[in-house]
């Protein structure tokens, strides 16, 4: 019995040795060290140095005040970025204070890829309340043309604009603010032209807001200064605490560089807002890469 076992062990050892002997290995190795930088920066600074805005605001009840001008840049060479803003009142009374980020629309003029605000795919049309913007017709702009703003809701499946609404407000002087507010009943507004139908679908994944003069944008001088308040989403309808928007990458075919997005934080004090200073911290978070059809990568 012992002899048989011994022979068996030897035979296995022989087989193992034979099998192992069959492996012949070659290898090569390279090493590279790379500095990785952030693709989106706030005022030129990335995390952890800064990706936030700290404002100390003290306003009169019934007024709106603005924080300093900030800008976001996207260093990514070929992809647009989605950025979210989340504000927290870290000191002072939160009652009667509404925080409204406003974006200057000088980054996406005249381009097809002009989806500035991005909405998660689960958001339904019924969750929308309003979107509004202010024109400021500056002296060097071509104010004699009719400025207009196109607003389109995009179908998440096809990426096609489902509804296009065009404002056609005419300025009456060189320096004038025009405030335009679209509500859920946009299509019924008499002062705007509307194409398409919002009844075809109730789910959208982005709003594109495009500003141009009446004859098409050719140079930066023809761009009207438009500040857009973020689309208001009914609370609980989607994961948008304040605003998600897009920071486009530079597109060579565009006459207007699309690299920088300017924004200010707006603070609306209600008529019954309590007196006193508030300190508000707004976190700017890079959420991901934007692609048409809202396909996240990864």
């Amino acid at each position: 019995m012992n002899k048989k076992m011994l022979i068996a062990v030897l035979a296995i050892a022989l087989l193992v040795g034979t099998a192992s002997a069959a492996l012949l290995t070659y290898f090569g190795r390279i090493t590279a060290t790379v500095m990785v930088s952030q693709s989106v920066k706030l005022d030129g600074l990335g995390y952890p140095d800064s990706m936030g805005v700290l404002d100390e605001v003290s306003g009169v009840a019934g007024s709106q005040i603005h924080g300093d001008l900030h800008w976001l840049t996207n260093a990514n060479p070929d992809k647009d970025a989605i950025v979210s803003l989340d504000s927290t009142i870290i000191s002072g009374d939160s009652d009667g204070l509404t925080i409204v980020p406003k974006f200057r629309l000088d980054a996406v003029v005249g381009e097809d890829n002009d989806d500035l605000f991005v909405i998660p795919p689960t958001t339904t049309w019924g969750a929308f309340v309003s979107v509004s913007f202010d024109y400021f017709i500056t002296e060097d702009s071509v104010y004699t043309n009719t400025p207009h703003v196109n607003i389109a809701l995009r179908d998440p499946d096809t990426g096609e604009a489902n509804c296009l609404i065009v404002s056609n407000e005419m300025p009456t002087s060189k320096d004038e603010w025009l405030t335009v507010t679209f509500t859920k009943e946009w299509i019924e507004a008499n002062s705007f032209l509307a194409f398409g139908s919002i009844a075809d679908t109730d789910v959208f994944n982005s709003i594109s807001i495009e500003v141009a003069d009446g004859s098409g944008v050719i140079t930066t001088e023809q761009v009207q200064t438009v500040w857009v308040k973020n689309p208001t989403i009914r609370a609980g309808s989607g994961p948008i605490p304040l605003s998600w928007f897009r920071v486009p990458h530079y597109y060579e075919g565009c006459n207007v560089p699309a690299l920088t997005v300017h924004f200010v934080m707006g603070y609306d004090f209600a008529m019954n807002a309590a007196a006193g200073e508030r300190t508000v911290r707004t976190e700017v978070t890079y959420q991901g890469i934007y692609t048409q059809g809202f396909t996240w990568t990864p």
Binding site: K3, L6, I7, L10, A11, A13, L14, G17, T18, S20, A21, A22, L23, L24, T25, Y26, F27, G28, R29, I30, T31, A32, T33, V34, M35, V36, S37, Q38, S39, V40, G46, Y47, A75, N76, P77, D78, K79, A81, T285, Y286, Q287, G288, I289, T297, P298
Partner: protein, 167 residues
């Protein structure tokens, strides 16, 4: 011959054979440098988070046989600990029987082309294993993507390519 003597003789013979095989195994197991292994396209010195960058290496198949290739890309971070899912790696293997054009990472006219899948076995360690047809000249191009919110830092990428032949 006595049965015991016969058994002892057989035992000695088996032991000798085993020792010879193990000796040969030890000699062959020692990895050899992959012939012609060199960098054709290197990573840039700086990368932007969220973008995709390519690195390309070439090597020669030292034997005119099918081989098993194992490619491992290890990413390490200088200041922080690597997390899973921060990078994504895909690759393509191009092969030629005759020397490929000398243009940098030229991939036209390849005689063989195969997309490789890299799995992240551990945080920052990507592995791809598969059998490769017997072509003399091979080019491996890796596309390395990162998540957009990757922590700014200095990252080290180490690519190890191992070829194994069954004799």
């Amino acid at each position: 011959m006595h049965r015991r003597q016969l058994f002892t003789f057989a035992l000695v013979l088996l032991l000798a054979l085993t020792i010879c095989q193990v000796s040969a195994w030890s000699t062959h197991r020692k990895p050899k440098h992959l012939p012609g292994f060199h960098l054709v396209k290197k990573l840039p010195k700086t990368m932007v988070a969220g973008s995709t960058y390519e690195v390309t290496v070439r090597f020669r198949n030292p034997k005119r046989e099918t081989f098993r290739m194992n490619a491992i890309l290890e990413v390490t971070e200088e200041q922080f600990e690597m997390g899973s899912g921060e990078f994504f790696v895909t690759a393509t293997l191009y092969a030629w029987e005759t020397p490929p054009p000398k243009h940098r990472h030229h991939t036209r006219h390849q005689e063989y082309c195969d997309d490789l899948t890299f799995e992240e076995d551990e945080a920052g360690i990507f592995n791809s294993t598969g059998l490769v047809r017997a072509k003399t000249h091979n080019q491996l191009t890796l596309r390395i993507s990162s998540v957009p919110n990757l922590m700014p830092d200095t990252y080290t990428f180490t690519l190890t390519v191992t070829l194994q032949y069954e004799e």
